[in-house]
Symmetry: C2
DNA sequence: TATTTGACTAATTCTTTTAAATATTCAAGA
DNA sequence: TCTTGAATATTTAAAAGAATTAGTCAAATA
């Protein structure tokens, strides 16, 4: 199975592969997975459809690669912003803001991930879980720093990080869930969710304070 | 429109109406809304199908009435348990335990409510929102008591209550969401969710402490 | 040998039709 | 005011066919 090989191939490996990723990213981010065809992606680049299959074994792998690509971009972005920060609350706020920024920008890309509950293809599941674990590690690490500096008292870092993460993700989920109207939340709705997440996180962190 | 009249009619109004509610409750709780037919409910009682329509204008109204019936039962149950409690954390723990108990018992009844996101019929939406608001008020009241006793410091009761509620509901949602396997979470999974909710609520309340 | 393609096949989704199940109505009786 | 059997109206389910889209491959190119 060469899916994994392609999926985890270093990005510099092939110029054309990146072209495809970028093009697919634009389509997926705008129209979502199901409303984007391989033919369209190929046409955008004036490639043949068959060429896409030379670089990616199937559509799902391409989608996963794009998702992974964006998630990595996001992670690096966050990591960069986090460098000078040594305050727990500020760090969490930055994470929340950045994540919301990416969710807004790539909503339809992620949307497939949100709504597909049952029967997640093998490798998509891997990407999602991997992303979750990266987030989890990040928050764990932030909590550890907070404890090391004496600001927080935490008995189980990983569990506490998971609690916070679940609360925040769940909060987003539950708000987006009952937006009756349209497919795409408005800017105001995104902002409202972010505000709630921030306030909730602040209380949570205060609850861990020494 | 006599739906509302029937929906909010005092329960003692009609013996037979209760019979129908109870019977429908059993069916809905076990098989869910869509897998329960009016004919089955009627047959359970040896009533004619048409009689159901004498007491309830349509299936959805019956479902709503059952939901309301169970929610009211739950609210009263919780209120009773809460009477002797004057500690914020204990109060929230009791609410969480009771709610989980009801969710377990009536899972398929609520399941329709959880999964139906778009196109919620008018009156079902009312019942759901009403239930949410009752929960919200309850937590608001508990927080107010905590503040009055000097244990908590809260600037905006309603907002804070909503934050807690969203976190807890969201946490349940997100965990149940990615239970790949079956339709019905296992007892262990329910317990795991409850444990997370409890821990999360404890930290949250500590975060509000004076 | 590594890429690239047009033309082909396979799988999936979308429509339409029809049949069956189920909800809902109603005239008439108790 | 209740209650029912029988009739009608809606909704769902299944089947069939058409259309779209995913995926393959032998041959061409560089």
């Amino acid at each position: 199975m060469n899916k994994l090989i392609l999926l985890f191939m270093p990005k510099s490996a092939d110029e054309k592969r990146i072209k495809i990723l970028e093009s697919a990213k634009r389509r997926f981010a705008h129209y979502g997975m199901s409303k984007t065809t391989m033919a369209e992606i190929a046409k955008d680049l004036s490639f043949s459809k068959a060429l896409l299959y030379y670089y990616f074994p199937d559509k799902n792998s391409l989608y996963c690669a794009v998702l992974d690509y964006v998630i990595t971009e996001q992670e690096e972005d966050i990591l960069e912003k986090l460098k000078p920060i040594n305050n727990t609350e500020k760090a969490i706020m930055i994470i929340l803001e950045k994540r919301m920024e990416y969710i807004k920008r790539y909503y339809n890309l992620f949307e497939y991930t949100f709504n597909t509950s049952k029967d997640v293809p093998e490798d998509l599941g891997k990407v999602i879980i991997c992303s979750f674990e990266k987030q989890h590690e990040q928050i764990t690490s932030i909590l550890k720093n907070g404890a090391k500096s004496g600001a927080l008292v935490i008995d189980n870092y990983e569990e506490t990080a998971r609690l916070l993460l679940f609360s925040l993700m769940g909060m987003r989920l539950i708000v987006i869930k009952d937006l009756k109207h349209s497919f795409f939340p408005t800017k105001e709705e995104f902002d409202a969710i972010l505000e709630m997440q921030k306030k909730m996180a602040q209380i949570f962190i205060k609850g861990l304070s020494a």
